[in-house]
């Protein structure tokens, strides 16, 4: 495992913006005094005339982004997930969502893997907040490769998009020839019959590792990566429910309103099956390193393995 390449998805975000700036002349990037951390500084360096720092004023940043979008700009507005979606929620809802404008809320530092900064900076509600806005696309890439593709797809998609990136370095798991990214389409990473484990974001790696541990004990799990939580791949999730009869969801987010809730919304409509929602159980985060916190909140491979077994009664 030691030779697995690890890169933060925010790094992919910054690189993608800088790379795509040439092709998309109407691409504009905004930040709220966190350009070095969100990696939008890479775009700023290359295209200073198309980068605007709003200062520490997220609400104004988002509403200005909407104004820019009315004049035909594709605007990426970035900050930490907590402030981008929490502080500026109503601006996103009214200035961006209700107006249906071409603004991409690209938030970094989502979830507990923010690490040491602790609870005030660990947003565990962003997916929930963005999911409930009509017309908003919600995408949580799992690694560097997927994050880059997600940025491209967000640009190509006309309308509001929320992208969630992470702070910490995470394994590159999608670096393969046949990898294809399609907004709204889930990816089956392994076929199985006993249970479907659906992961999103950094948790997809935990799920892949947990699968190996379960396999050793004869549990044949189907593994799915849902990078687009809205619109969610209803067809695939329904197929999984029919095929395996049980579903586990794993997310670095509150289990209220995130991936788990979105999956439940699908199966309760199409093919009800028991669902185990692994994630942050209605609580705030805390300080600690990213790795330690993934373990503490049982989102690492061991934690997922144990919770899947508990769910299966084994």
């Amino acid at each position: 495992m030691s030779d697995v390449k690890k890169i933060a998805t925010r790094q992919a975000y910054g690189e993608a913006l800088a790379e795509l700036g040439e092709k998309y002349e109407n691409l504009v990037v905004m930040d709220a005094d966190l350009a070095a951390s969100t990696k939008t500084a890479m775009f700023k360096k290359k295209y200073p005339d198309r980068f605007f720092d709003a200062g520490i004023a997220e609400a104004n940043m988002v509403s200005m982004a909407a104004g820019l979008a009315t004049a035909g700009k594709i605007v990426f507005a970035s900050s930490f997930a907590m402030f981008a979606t929490g502080r500026a929620y109503e601006q996103i809802r009214n200035s961006v969502g209700h107006c249906g404008l071409n603004v991409k809320i690209a938030a970094t530092h989502g979830g507990i893997t923010v690490g040491e900064d602790g609870a005030t900076h660990q947003c565990l509600e962003d997916v929930s907040l963005m999911r409930n806005i009509p017309g908003m696309v919600v995408c949580v890439p799992s690694d560097y490769v997927e994050a880059k593709e997600a940025v491209k797809a967000a640009i190509e998609h006309e309308g509001p998009v929320f992208l969630r990136f992470g702070r910490s370095n995470v394994p590159v798991i999608n670096d393969r020839e046949d990898y294809k990214f399609e907004l709204g389409k889930g990816v089956v990473l392994k076929e199985g019959s006993d249970v479907t484990i659906i992961g999103t974001g950094v948790c997809v790696d935990s799920v892949l590792q947990a699968e190996k541990m379960l396999a050793e004990e004869g549990i044949n799990a189907q593994i799915v990566n849902i990078h687009t939580i809205k619109p969610i791949d209803e067809e695939l999730i329904t197929q999984c429910a029919i095929k395996t009869g049980k579903i586990v969801t794993v997310e670095e987010h509150s289990v209220i309103g995130g991936l788990g809730s979105a999956v439940c919304d699908v199966v309760c409509k199409t093919h009800p099956v028991p669902v185990c929602k692994i994630g942050i159980q209605d609580q705030f985060g805390t300080s600690g390193s990213a790795d330690v916190l993934m373990k503490y909140f049982r989102l690492d491979a061991q934690g997922v393995y144990e919770q899947v077994k508990e769910f299966l009664g084994k």
Partner: protein, 278 residues
Amino acid sequence: MENIELKKIANEVRKGIIISTHAGKSGHPGGSLSAADIFTYLYFEEMNIDPKNPKNPDRDRFVLSKGHTAPGLYSALAMKGFFPFEDLTSLRHLGSYLQGHPDMHLTPGVDISTGSLGQGVSNAVGMALAGRMDKKDYRVYTLLGDGELEEGQVWEAAMFAGFQKLDNLCVIVDNNGLQIDGSIDEVCSPNPIDKKFEAFNFHVVKADAHDFDSLRAAFKEARDTKRMPTAIICTSVKGKGISFMENQAGWHGVAPNDEQKEAALNELKKAGEELCQM
């Protein structure tokens, strides 16, 4: 356009406000009436807009940051020919393109949807920024209420606009002195408004919201001001033009009933006749 013509149009705009809020059985006549002359001046004298081509990328933009005074905006847009004046009676009805607060996708001539106070001014700053990036010479106007200045976002936007020296931006404050809970000085005073905008690196002009010479001079000064945005602080009377609505906070968000509508329209009819004799 001569002032007398502008006055006649403003009188019709006021009739539209009364007719629409009465028909909608709700809405905000007080702040619509205080801004009626400002709407009239903007749409009939100041702004480069064409009702036949409302999406022209080179047009001037207007953002009604105090979105609740949509009846005033709709009435001016109808008078300008963006849609039939008769449709004002559909205000706030199910299926109407005249929503309670402006909707950019439903109403011709509305540049962005507003209503949540404080956001429109930021939208306008974004538009002004886009104009500068694209080297267009359009101007962006946004109208705020004085109570709205209590929203922190207004000052985030002002800080950015002043810092960026957005001289294509004109912020207009409808300073009628009243908000829902009473006088702005009793609720949470935003005064001194002029000094605040000056501190945020705006050029500040004061005007009488009901005097077209004063508005003409103020908007000219705004256009002539370079390398900084302008804020025009317009002293106004809430409910202006309807005797029993003037200076009454209670008319902020209450529609006239049948009797009040008739009384108000009679006053405006009389005012219109007097203007015709001038």
